[in-house]
């Protein structure tokens, strides 16, 4: 509950002198204070630690989702594949899609958002630190519930959009779909909390001088994404609730015998689902909007246009969902309207592509690994976007929908777009987050293998789809494969080989990470000659982010502290190094810094919600137990003292040895 998270002004508190500030919750629990060891992670409210945990979680699920994909590619490498049974295959693509979208892509974006958004706006933390932790733990619990199904009778098997009535109890008799609805509801709750938190953070916690039109583009894109989430998550929540009520309590929502209309589910899903794809891509757009200028040594071309087009994509994104239903029988009027609306969305997206290209145009391009990935995004996303435009022509989409041509489209935008953007972010921000440089040589291998593997895997799917191979088929047959250059056999094989090239590239990245952690070299403070606020501090940043909250005068503040324009020649002249600037900030550190204290309750509350959810499946006693934990921890949350006791610190805070006093 947001009521008592943080005093908005100290003014009010001091007016009521008789405030009793409690120091314990529930009689004897104080706020945890550990700053090392596993407890310092589990109970943390530090946005940077939370960001890293999001990242680790997402990476694990990227590998899980990836291995699921590899199994599918094994099955499809040849006709009448025998690697997986029909049942397993169906679970595989359902969980692959679900995992990649909800447990890899969104959390990885959340990792970057949590870590860098406060740094980019010059804040000490987010607006609601405990909520932030709660969002993470909801996601973790949701992810575990989703995947628990593998061990409890089989995972969900209805495809990641889980169309009714195939997802109903009759046609999906295992518990997989139940775990799926529960897991997604819990994870969704986490996202909702997280997004409200981040919006308030961006609006309210900016450093002095940081106007909205000076926000780094990454922050802007994250802001747009959070609005998309706030307004689209409730819609899928409705869908999931209806499905859960049907499966667990016998409600009739998708029971055709009662007169239900299965298209209701499709609308609810895609009203969420289309904004969701922009939720997935915009963070990557944000990342490369930082990377491209940095390595082109030029500001982003047309900053206001990029910002505005991002917002426009977000807004228009709510009006096109039915393009996923062109073949569903909506009637010509709806189809025509949504078809045109879908085309409209290519316009603001085009603006972004043009602006990135024009950012590089006239620049001084430095091909680091991060830059290569960023350029990779621009190239591959354009291909994926253009195939998207071919879908938007509704009659032509009726030939394409539910074939591999669609699978090609969305992997080009998701893998070629989003994943490349995220990898660009890894290489760009790794030195910031961990103080060590990822190896550029391995990075280059990583990039090229991924670029080639990606085109090998998903490029042939265009051909396969247009030759008529439908998606979600556990086998394909020689009989419909055709002959000659474009036959299914050859291209399916290429695609499968490509997927292993991709796996190799991911493996190289993991090796790079391990090597860097073991013996990577210390990164300079400003390795890339970067432009934005997160670099005006040490790497990794201290717990309180900035020794002195920077005052902002420019878009690309950091750059403009390092360089001034030579009036005569219009070239840039260095006046300070990044190192000097950071040292200067350290020298002028503020003396009095407040940071939020850690808390037990986010974790406990999330576990309680998980137990409550499982109660839906395993009976009322478990539900009661879960509800009890939830109630108790909400109570603990509300009653929690706003500060940890100074004496709990070791050595005690407040003295000279500990510079940080903690404050709610």
């Amino acid at each position: 509950m947001a009521i008592i998270e943080r005093p908005s002004t100290e003014l009010e508190v001091s007016i009521t002198p008789s405030v009793v500030v409690p120091s314990t919750t529930l009689g004897n629990l104080r706020r945890p204070v550990q700053s090392t060891g596993w407890k310092s992670w589990l109970f943390t409210v530090d946005h940077k630690k939370i960001g890293i945990m999001y990242g680790v979680f997402a990476m694990i699920f990227f590998i899980i989702g990836g291995v699921e994909a590899l199994l599918m590619r094994l099955q499809l490498a040849a006709p009448d594949g025998k690697a997986l049974s029909a049942d397993l295959y169906n679970q595989m693509f359902t969980m692959h899609g679900t995992t990649m979208v909800f447990l890899f892509a969104m959390p990885m974006a959340a990792a970057f958002a949590n870590y860098f958004l406060p740094l980019q706006i010059g804040a000490r933390d987010v607006a609601f630190p405990r909520m932030n932790a709660l969002g993470l733990w909801f996601l973790v619990v949701g992810g575990l519930v989703l995947n628990a199904a593998w061990f409890l009778g089989g995972a969900a098997d209805g495809g990641w959009f889980m169309y009714a009535p195939n997802s109903g109890p009759v046609f999906s008799p295992s518990n997989g779909v139940d775990f799926w609805t529960l897991g997604l509801q819990i994870a969704g709750l986490g996202s909702l909390i997280g997004s409200i938190n981040l919006i308030v953070t961006v609006l309210n916690m900016r450093a002095p001088g940081m106007t909205m039109m000076k926000l780094p583009v990454f922050t802007w894109m994250i802001l747009v994404v959070q609005f998309l989430l706030v307004f689209s998550l409730p819609v899928i929540t409705v869908a999931l609730v209806l499905l859960m009520f049907q499966r667990s309590f016998g409600a009739t929502f998708f029971d055709v015998a009662q007169g239900a209309d299965p298209l209701l589910w499709q609308h609810l899903f895609w009203i969420f689902g289309h904004p969701e794809v922009y939720v997935l891509i915009l963070p990557a757009f944000g990342i490369i909007s930082e990377v491209l200028p940095t390595f082109s040594r030029k500001p982003l071309f047309g900053y206001p246009f990029v910002v505005f087009s991002g917002a426009a994509i977000g807004f228009v994104g709510f009006g096109v969902w039915a393009h996923h239903m062109f073949a569903a029988g909506l009637g010509p009027v709806s189809v025509a309207v949504f078809s045109i609306a879908t085309m409209a969305i290519a316009i603001p997206t085009g603006v972004k592509i043009f602006n990135w290209t024009l950012t590089m145009w006239g620049g001084k391009i430095w091909f680091t690994t991060a830059m290569k990935f960023a350029i990779g995004l621009v190239v591959l996303f354009t291909i994926g976007g253009l195939s998207g435009v071919t879908h938007s022509v509704a009659p032509s989409d009726t030939q394409q929908t539910d074939t591999y041509y669609i699978v090609a489209h969305f992997h080009y935008v998701l893998f070629g777009g989003m994943v490349f953007g995220l990898f660009s972010g890894f290489y760009y921000w790794w030195p910031k987050m961990f103080g060590k440089m990822l190896n550029e040589r391995l990075g280059s291998w990583n990039f090229w293998l991924m670029f080639i593997g990606m085109n090998m895997t998903f490029g042939p799917m265009h051909i396969l789809g247009l030759q008529g191979q439908p998606r979600r088929m556990y086998v394909w047959t020689e009989a419909r494969a055709g002959e000659g250059f474009f036959n299914f056999g050859f291209w399916n094989l290429i695609s499968s080989i490509g997927s292993f090239v991709l796996a190799l590239s991911v493996l190289l990245f993991l090796i790079n990470v391990v090597q860097t952690a073991r013996k990577g070299k210390q990164a300079p403070l400003d390795p890339w000659d970067a432009r934005t606020l997160e670099w005006i501090t040490t790497s990794p940043p201290k717990e309180h982010n900035f020794d002195r909250i920077p005052t902002v005068h420019h878009l690309d503040e950091f750059f403009h502290r390092k360089y001034v324009e030579d009036e005569a020649t219009h070239t840039m002249k260095a006046i300070a190094t990044g190192e000097e600037i950071v040292r200067n900030e350290e020298a002028n550190a503020e003396s009095h810094i407040h940071l939020p204290s850690a808390s037990y309750w986010p974790l406990v509350l999330a576990i309680g919600v998980g137990v409550l959810g499982l109660g839906v499946l395993y009976g009322v006693p478990i539900m009661v137990l879960g509800a009890a934990i939830v109630l108790l921890s909400s109570f603990g949350w509300v009653m929690e003292p706003s500060v940890a006791e100074d004496s709990d610190y070791d050595p005690p805070a407040g003295g000279t040895s500990k510079e940080l006093a903690s404050h709610g």
């Binding site: 002004t9 003014l11 307004f231 609308h267 609810l268 709510f318 009006g319 039915a322 009637g331 709806s334």
Partner: protein, 104 residues
């Protein structure tokens, strides 16, 4: 510690809204509209039935949101957040229902 501008903002905020008497008047208006709404159940309004009900519903909605929830007096950012949600909800769900031939 807050600066002077901050302070001014805050006290100004306190004075927004209506007096208690004003709130009671608003409540009376709401009560009257509700009575009218209920009367449609007993009296036949003919073709005016639907439009009048809709108008009364929207009027009540706006009155509560503007006065009781202070949206009329508060910062526009709050209005943006709430009405953005409302407008998206109306747009999406109207469109979705329209594809079911709900309105024809």
């Amino acid at each position: 510690m807050a600066t002077a501008t901050e302070h001014a903002e805050h006290t100004e905020h306190e004075q927004h809204g209506l007096t208690d008497g004003g709130y009671i008047k608003v409540a009376v208006v709401l009560a009257v509209i509700t009575a009218l709404e209920v009367s449609t159940y007993y009296v036949d309004f003919g073709p005016f039935f639907m439009p009048s009900l809709m108008i009364m519903m929207v009027a009540k909605f706006i009155i509560v949101v503007s006065y009781f929830m202070h949206l009329k007096f508060d910062n526009k950012l709050f209005s943006f957040m709430f009405y953005a949600g409302l407008v998206l909800a109306l747009g999406c769900y109207f469109a979705a229902l329209a594809t079911f031939q709900f309105f024809s």
